[in-house]
Point group: C2
Chain length 137, copies 2
DNA sequence: TAAAACCACTTTATATTTGCAAGCAGAAAA
DNA sequence: TTTTCTGCTTGCAAATATAAAGTGGTTTTA
């Protein structure tokens, strides 16, 4: 499966059911450790998580660093390339918000509310915060 | 894999390497027939195509209709729910445009240029055209 | 200080999905 | 009337996903 279509290029990397969920955990739920990703509601299996984390690191969406206090812990954080997935994730969220009916819980408004209210400016503000937390912080 | 997260809801349906490519073919390349989707550059296999078309119809992203002139031909077109995937597809396109480097061909500008230039207004104009072609037309 | 628990994985076994090739029934073109 | 076109279906091998257990260190607990 090869083509020089922009859509296909993206789908080749993150076109699956798990990759963007890991990015979501990093973006919105403050998760930084392997076992935190593992504990997410969707129940990713441990070998798939290991595979996707390696892939995301290899493709430079995330980076690993050492936890000073706990030597066995590894901290995962987003790179700029990973943070730039935010608009994609938000658009999927907005689409689902329109079509999922009563299936979704109310916590969605914490994240989607800002985009609905402030549009592109809201997305930019969220991006800036991610930059502060993951890259500068 | 179940959760009431908006992102997960979307990924459960179109979180794979093929589904959005079929939608893309309907949106941008004027494809309407089974063998046209089959002929796309990415080379989807016929059983996967049949599976995804059935799924997309079942989930009401596309609808089937009969071709008056050719009785064996089936015309596929987008519903509103399918057209509403446009912003997601465009955001993936914009992301890839930023990160794919020289990999992408220049035809991308025909579609992405309008979004880059006119932003949200450009997306709305594209949506309106899709509505005219697939639903009113 | 020894045992238990935690951490980020790896491994193994099984189930499901995908990819490839061929086949098929009905309609249209030669 | 034979051949081709159309939208599929079927069978099989290969790849991928899921589930569960295991590993080698590191902390925490008793």
């Amino acid at each position: 499966m090869r083509s020089n279509c922009p859509l296909n290029f993206g789908l080749e990397i993150f076109g699956d059911k798990w990759t963007l969920l890991i990015i979501r955990d990093l973006m919105f739920f403050g998760k930084r450790h392997y076992n935190e990703f593992l504990a997410s509601a969707e129940g990713i299996s441990t070998n798939i998580l290991a595979d996707r984390l390696a892939l995301l690191e290899q493709e430079n969406f995330i980076k690993k660093s050492k936890d000073g206090a706990h030597k066995q812990k590894i901290i995962y954080s987003l790179t700029e390339k990973g943070i730039d997935l935010l608009p994609i994730i938000l658009e999927i969220g907005l689409w689902s918000d329109k079509y999922a009916g009563s299936f979704l819980n109310e916590k969605k408004e914490i994240i989607l509310g800002e985009v609905k209210k402030d549009g592109v400016k809201g997305v930019l503000a969220m991006k800036e915060r991610l930059y502060q937390t993951h890259i500068k912080g």
